[in-house]
């Protein structure tokens, strides 16, 4: 591999890491959304028969 | 009695308790002695014929580090059996005395193992000069000071046998560098002063933070 390609590889790795991190945060967001949904469900149930 | 005298009395009482327990149960020290000897013998076969003394010296340090790990894994076992650590934590003495007592006791066991290991090493592999021995002594102090605290951390966690080496080895790297350097390099004195610096820094840090490891 030429020098230029190594430079591209280095910056590419940094980009990949950040995107990976964004993906992990995305999965956490999805989980949080599901959990808040469940709690909202319980709350609605509670208010209905409250 | 002055506070210092009381503190020293506590440390001595705690260290003596560990020595008494060990002499009675005899489950850690003999294991360490045999372990360090058998490790050196295994190294003999592991080393190809032509390797120089330097490589052998590196292996001595692997033997010392893992023998220390063996001793540290059992360091807080007596306290765990009867829940005695809570008893010590409740006592009005300074909690760092618990750490210092344990460190001194572990140092005694490790020292005993080294008393066997160094002559055996000189016999099997290569001669050891005074600077090398000083390196072993200084590094052992660092190993026990840091190791006792890490062992207390490991004792509070679920996977305690597995977690201790993971916590200990990164912190042991500078000690191995200092120890090996003191043994094989012409500039032995630099390495000894580095080891002394390590001991000072980490002993003070362990002394100051031990209380937070055993209380809430």
């Amino acid at each position: 591999m030429s020098q230029g390609q190594y430079v591209a590889l280095a910056y590419g790795v940094v980009l990949v890491f950040v995107l990976l991190w964004v993906a992990i945060i995305a999965t956490k967001l999805v989980r949080l959304e599901r959990e808040t949904g469940e709690l909202a469900e319980i709350a609605r149930g509670r208010r209905a028969d409250g | 009695m002055s506070a210092l005298a009381l503190y020293t009395a506590d440390v001595v009482a705690l260290a003596r308790k560990d020595l008494k327990l060990e002499l009675r149960a005899r489950d850690t020290l003999p294991a360490m002695l045999l372990f360090v000897l058998s490790t050196l013998v295994v190294f003999h076969f592991a080393l190809p014929a032509g390797t120089g003394d330097d490589a052998a010296f590196g292996l001595l340090w692997i033997a010392i580090v893992f023998t220390a790990l063996l001793g540290l894994a059992r360091a807080w076992a007596p306290e765990r059996e009867g829940g005695a650590l809570d008893g010590l934590v409740l006592a009005p003495c300074d909690r760092s005395a618990i750490w210092l007592g344990k460190t001194l006791a572990t140092l005694a066991f490790l020292g005993a193992a080294e008393l066997v290991a160094l002559p055996a090493f000189a016999l099997f592999f290569a001669p050891i000069d005074l600077v090398a021995v000083a390196g072993v002594v200084l590094a052992s102090i660092g190993i026990c000071a840091v190791g006792s605290l890490l062992a207390a951390m490991a004792a509070a966690s679920r996977g305690r046998e597995v977690i201790l080496p993971l916590l200990f080895l990164p912190l042991a790297i500078p000690l191995v560098v200092g120890g090996v350097g003191a043994g094989i390099s012409p500039e032995g004195a630099t390495y000894l002063s580095f080891l002394a610096l390590y001991d000072l820094v980490f002993a003070i840090l362990a002394w100051a933070t031990f209380e937070y490891v055993v209380t809430e």
Partner: protein, 194 residues
């Protein structure tokens, strides 16, 4: 004096204690009762200072040296003898004439004959008696006893009864138990955990 206000303790996801408040004047005798898992042990560990409350405030008068704690575990070294255990704790608690006091306590709790035996050779009841000796060794102003009657035979229980009777009104006592009838007469305050 001990006062707890809205005490809560959580271990990971599980909540061991929720919204407990109580007030115990000096030399009072608080009897803590409640089903298994209601948090009795947790509350007593909080008072002893072995754990910190997750929420709420707890004020306990007196230093560590004035506290005698008896938990589910004996807090003893199993490979040390009865005397050696008491000697070690005697030193740490700066007990004057600790040998005489240890001897007297061992005598009182019927352990004098086995004073030189290792705790590992003791029965569960004998270990409990020795743990009581350890808790009383430094004559503490505050006694925190977590189900002290467990594993005690009739004689042992009678010994503890007389000991508690002697200390009531003299020391502050916190005692948790499943068999409240035994000490109901002595207790000045009660706390029921649910």
């Amino acid at each position: 004096m001990i006062a707890g206000e809205g005490l809560e303790k959580r271990y990971g996801r599980k909540r061991a204690l929720r919204g407990v408040s109580f007030d115990l004047p000096r030399r009072g005798f608080l009897l803590v009762t409640g089903p298994n898992g209601s948090g009795k042990t947790t509350l007593l560990r909080l008072v002893a200072g072995l754990a910190a409350p997750t929420k709420g405030t707890l004020t306990v008068e007196g230093e560590r040296g004035d506290l005698g704690y008896l938990g589910h575990e004996s807090l003893l070294y199993r490979e040390l003898t009865a005397l050696e255990n008491l000697d070690l704790y005697g030193r740490l608690y700066r007990v004057p004439e600790r040998r005489e006091r240890s001897g007297m306590l061992l005598e009182r709790f019927g352990l004098w004959e086995v004073r030189a035996d290792r705790v590992s050779t003791f029965s569960r009841g004998m270990t409990q008696r020795l743990a009581l000796c350890r808790a009383l060794l430094h004559d503490p102003a505050l006694l925190v006893l977590d189900e002290p009657y467990t594993a005690l035979d009739d004689d042992g229980a009678a010994l503890l009864d007389s000991e508690l009777a002697a200390l009531t009104g003299e020391r502050t006592i916190l005692l948790s138990t499943h068999d409240p009838a035994r000490v109901a007469l002595l207790a000045t305050h009660r706390l029921v955990l649910t």
